[in-house]
Symmetry: C2
Subunit: 138 residues, 2 copies
């Protein structure tokens, strides 16, 4: 069954199939909705950009590979490391910058409409997609 | 690092370590919060109970094993199968009943305070924990 058929028939989505449907890094696909939230999956590699979501937390689950997230907190800057199979929530208002090993795949949970680069951000490099997430395609 | 230390220091949580901290089935642990939502993980095996959440969708990700979800929809009853690595959202207002193979582990997103047996349900068997989720303990 194609991804589009699964979506149309409201069938479960196999994440491997979702990941096979695109190549871009830092360019999330919305795999399903939960109330007014998106569940998004993204291939990530190299550096994202320092940014902050003023009004929402952002949830990360590492499905493959390894993700680091730099955090600028009131107490100073630190970096947390998320190996495969770990989860972390960046609190709203906390400036953060994800960096990933090649081959890393993550799942995100955040309100529909949340921009990949937040409400404030450093200059966005070409390899970072400024988006609220893309629909899955076959 | 223990789970409690990771929580206290706001460090990433390894899901394997979270699962190692409890044995019960159908008894979710809250691994992190996202705004007013919980991310919960649960060991599941055998049958849950027909129930419905009137006011919220419910998201399922199968981390290990296989989950079936019976759905009573306006068009009739159907069952969806979620192998490892697949996702599905049960829409609000849809009566549903999960059933799992031994060794199945799932991750759920739902609003904080959501009861495991919903707003309306069949008689709850002893092996199903009626809860809004438990905190992680070391």
């Amino acid at each position: 069954m194609t991804i589009e058929t699964a979506v149309q028939r409201r069938m479960p989505i196999a994440l491997d199939q979702a990941f096979a449907s695109f190549d871009e890094h830092w360019s999330p696909r919305v795999v399903t909705h939960v109330n007014d939230y998106d569940v998004r999956v993204t291939k990530v590699e190299g550096e994202h950009v320092w940014h902050v979501h003023d009004d929402t937390d952002e949830f990360f689950l590492v499905l493959d590979g390894e993700l680091e997230i730099g955090l600028r907190e009131p107490s100073g800057e630190r970096t947390v490391t998320l190996p495969k199979g770990s989860v972390f929530t960046v609190p709203r208002g906390t400036e953060h910058k994800p960096t990933a090993r090649p081959g890393t795949r993550i799942l995100l949970f955040e309100p529909t409409g949340t921009l990949t680069v937040g409400d404030r951000h450093d200059e966005v490099p070409d390899h970072v997609d400024v988006t609220t997430g893309h629909a899955l395609k076959a």
